[in-house]
Symmetry: C2
Subunit: 416 residues, 2 copies
C-alpha cells in the first residue's frame, strides 16, 4: 500500500482492498469463497465486498461458481478466481539446468520446459536460451489467446494479452530492485550483468530478477507452505519433527501460507542459502541482499570456507555430508536454524534442496532435535519451532519465480 513516498490516496485504497480480496479468492482455490466470508476475513462491509467483486467480475478476474448449502435462508453464492485471466512465466537458472514454467493466476503450471544449462557459456548465450524457452512456453500455453495476425516470431510474448511478465531466479547475490547481478560463484563472466534490462529489451514484457532462495520462499508463501494437503509432488512431504513437545504450535504454523505467516526456507544443495518470509512477504533487506545464511559463522576459528572465513555453516555442513555424516550435517544446520529462529521468532522452518531431498528424514529430524532442545532450555512457554520438508518439488523455484510477477496482484509485494 505504501509507495516510495508513503502517502495513500483513494486509488491506493482501492488497490489495497482489491488485492486483499483477490488474495483470499486465490487462497480459497477451487473451493471458492462467498461474499460474506470475504467480508468477515477482510473486515470490510458486505456491500463493499460486493462492489469490489462486481468490479473483478466485470474485468473477468472473478466469476460466480455455484452456491453453498443454505443455512436457513438464501444460500451464499460462491466466488472463484478465473485462473486463465492472467499468466506469468518463471525461469530457474540453476548451475547445470534451466527450468521454465508458465503458470496461471492460481499458480497452476500450464506448461513446462527443461534444458541442460552451462552458466559459463556466457550471458548472451544464456539470455537467448531463456528468451527461447519463454517464447516456446508462451506459444504452447497462450497461443490460442493471441490474435492470428500477431503471430510473428519474436513478438509472441508482448502479444499475449494475459501475460504479466517473466520472473527469473538464480543463485548468488544480486540487486533485486535494479535487476543487476552481483556475481555467481564460479562464473565471473556474470559480474555486474544487468539481466533484467537485457531480458526486458529482448522480450518486451516486464521482468523481475531474484535469488533462487527468495523465489522458492515466495512460492512457498503463496502456495500455503505447511498447509493440509501436502500431496503435491515430493514423496516425503509428510515428514515432520518438533511438534511433540509443543502446545498446539504445529497447528498454528499450519497456516504459514496465509497472511501474517512467517517462516525461513533453508536451501541446502551445492550451497546453502535462506529465504525469509515475514507477514506473507519476502524480506529482502536494505540492499536486497538478505538471506545470506550459508556463511554464518557457527564455529569461531573453525575450518576454512571457500569464502575466506572460518567455521561457516555451509563449509561445516557440506563437509559432513561429504564424509557421510548426515547427523552432524543436520546438527550444524539445526544450530544455524535455531540461531535464526531465536533472532527472528518465526513460525516455521522449511528445508529444501537436493542434499536435503536425498535424505529428508535425517535432516528434518536432526534440525528438529536442535530446535526442540533450544525450546526446552527456554522453559517452553511456546512450543519448539516446527521443522518441515518444503513441499514444493524440483520445479518449485521456477514456480516461485513466476510468483514474483503474480504476488503484487495479491498485495504480497515487499514484506506483506
Amino acid at each position: 500500500m505504501r509507495g516510495a513516498a508513503g502517502g495513500a490516496n483513494l486509488l491506493a485504497l482501492r488497490s489495497h482492498n482489491t488485492a486483499l480480496v483477490l488474495d483470499l479468492l486465490r487462497t480459497a482455490g477451487g473451493a471458492g469463497i462467498s461474499r460474506l466470508e470475504l467480508a468477515e476475513r477482510t473486515g470490510l462491509t458486505p456491500q463493499a465486498v460486493s462492489k469490489i467483486t462486481g468490479r473483478l467480475r466485470g474485468e473477468g478476474l472473478a466469476a460466480e461458481a455455484g452456491r453453498r448449502a443454505s443455512t436457513g435462508g438464501k444460500p451464499r453464492t460462491v466466488l472463484r478466481l478465473v485462473p486463465g485471466a492472467g499468466h506469468a512465466l518463471g525461469v530457474h537458472l540453476d548451475r547445470d539446468e534451466l527450468r521454465a514454467v508458465l503458470v496461471d493466476l492460481d499458480g497452476t503450471v500450464v506448461a513446462e520446459r527443461r534444458a541442460p544449462l552451462d552458466l559459463g557459456a556466457g550471458a548472451e548465450t544464456v539470455l537467448e536460451m531463456v528468451a527461447r524457452a519463454a517464447e516456446e512456453l508462451a506459444a504452447e500455453g497462450l497461443g490460442h489467446l493471441v490474435a492470428e495476425g500477431a503471430r510473428v516470431p519474436g513478438a509472441a510474448l508482448a502479444a499475449a494479452p494475459t501475460l504479466l511478465g517473466l520472473g527469473v531466479a538464480l543463485p548468488g547475490p544480486l540487486d533485486h530492485v535494479r535487476g543487476v547481478l552481483h556475481r555467481i560463484t564460479g562464473f565471473p563472466g556474470w559480474d555486474g550483468y544487468p539481466l533484467r534490462e537485457a531480458l526486458e529489451r529482448r522480450l518486451g514484457v516486464p521482468v523481475v530478477v531474484d535469488k533462487d532462495t527468495n523465489a522458492a520462499a515466495l512460492g512457498l508463501a503463496v502456495g500455503g507452505a505447511g498447509a493440509e494437503e501436502g500431496s503435491e509432488e515430493g514423496s516425503g512431504a509428510g515428514v515432520e519433527a518438533g511438534g511433540e513437545g509443543g502446545s498446539g504450535a504445529g497447528v498454528e504454523a499450519a497456516g504459514a501460507g496465509a497472511r501474517g505467516g512467517s517462516f525461513a526456507y533453508l536451501h541446502l544443495g551445492t550451497g546453502l542459502g535462506a529465504g525469509l518470509v515475514f507477514g506473507g512477504g519476502v524480506h529482502r533487506g536494505a540492499r536486497t541482499g538478505a538471506g545470506e545464511f550459508g556463511h554464518q559463522v557457527v564455529q569461531l576459528d573453525g575450518p576454512p570456507c571457500t569464502c575466506g572465513a572460518r567455521g561457516c555453516i555451509e563449509a561445516l555442513c557440506l563437509a559432513a555430508v561429504a564424509r557421510g555424516d548426515l547427523a552432524e550435517a543436520a546438527r550444524v544446520l539445526g544450530t544455524g536454524a535455531a540461531n535464526l529462529a531465536g533472532l527472528l521468532d518465526i513460525d516455521l522452518v522449511l528445508l529444501g534442496g537436493r542434499t536435503v531431498a536425498a535424505a529428508p528424514e535425517a535432516f528434518v529430524h536432526g534440525v528438529g532435535a536442535v530446535l526442540d532442545a533450544r525450546a526446552r532450555r527456554e522453559g517452553g512457554h511456546d512450543g519448539p519451532v516446527p521443522v518441515r520438508l518444503a513441499p514444493a518439488g524440483t520445479r518449485g523455484v521456477a514456480e516461485g519465480a513466476a510468483q514474483l510477477l503474480l504476488a503484487p496482484l495479491f498485495g504480497r509485494g515487499e514484506g506483506g
Copy 2:
C-alpha cells in the same frame, strides 16, 4: 494501516496519512516544515496536506511557526508540531535501578526520576514503585494541566488530559501483545506476571510492555539514530568505524532514523540482547520474542553457557570481558553482528549497554573490523555495514519505553 483483518476503509486512510504528516512534523523538529515539503515527501497533493494540517491545527497538534525566505513568490509558511499536545511516561526496570521519564510529543524529556531497585522484592512492591514514580512525574510535569478539583491522590494520571499512557521496558522474554512476562533470569517470582493488566488497573491509563532492547531500538529509530547532532549525552558518540572502505555507505546510513531505515541495536550489559528495526518499526516476530541474540551459537561444542547450550555469544563475550580481553570480546560480538547483518541486510549496527560504554572504542572498532573483513570477502559491491555507538545515554531505554506510546501516533507501530 492494516488491522487484524487487513481491509482498509476511509478512516484508516485518514489515520495513515495523518500519521505520516505527524511523523514528518516530528522529524523536522524545531526547524519545522512547509506544506509543500510535506506534499513532496508524502506524495500527497498540496491541497490534501492543507486539509490534514488544518485538522491538526484545529486539534492543537500542529501550529504555524514563521515563514521561509521567499524564492520569488509568496514565502512558505512553516508548520511545527506542538510538543505539549501530548505526553507519555516511560519506565525502565533494570536489574538494580528504576528510571522513569516523562516526554512530550517531540520526545523531549520533561521530567525524570531515578531510584535503586530490587527486582527480587516481588511484583507487588515493584509495581507500587512504578506507579509512585509515574504519579510523581505526572504531577511534576503535567500538574498545571490538571483541573484543580481533580487533584486527588491516586487519580493524577487519568486526570492529565494530554497523557497517552505508560510504557515499561524490562529485561527478559515477554509477550508484548498481551503484556505478560515470561520470566526474568534470576528472579523466578516474575514468571508469568501480567504486568500490563496490573499496571493499567492501578493507574487507569494505557500501558505497553516491551523488552528493554526493543524499547532502546525504538527510541533510536524515532530519535534518528546516526543523525548529525550526536551531542546528546554520551561522551563517545563520535566514535565510528567501518566507513573507510565503503562507497558512501556511511552517508546512506546516517538517515537510519527516517522511515525505511533498518538497523540492529546490540546491547551488551549484564547480558546480551538485540533490538531489530526494519522500515522504521521494531521487528518483534510471530510471538513477539525476536531479538534473542545472546544465545546464538557461534562456537559448536564451545564452553557451556548458563542457558544450558554451548558456545553462545553471550557466554564467550562476557568471559572475554571478565578476563580483560576486550579485543576478543569485540571479535565475538562482531562475528554475531556479521551473521546478523548478512542474514538481514541491515543498514547499520548500533552498540550500547554498560559494558560497551566502558570501552566504546574497543568495541566499535573491533566489531567494525569483523564487518569490514566480511564485506571485503564478498567483493565489496556495497561497502561494509557501519558500526556506531548508540547515541542515547543512560536514560535511552526509558525514553524508548515512552516511545512505545508515541510511536503509533506517527505510524510506527509494528514494522513501520
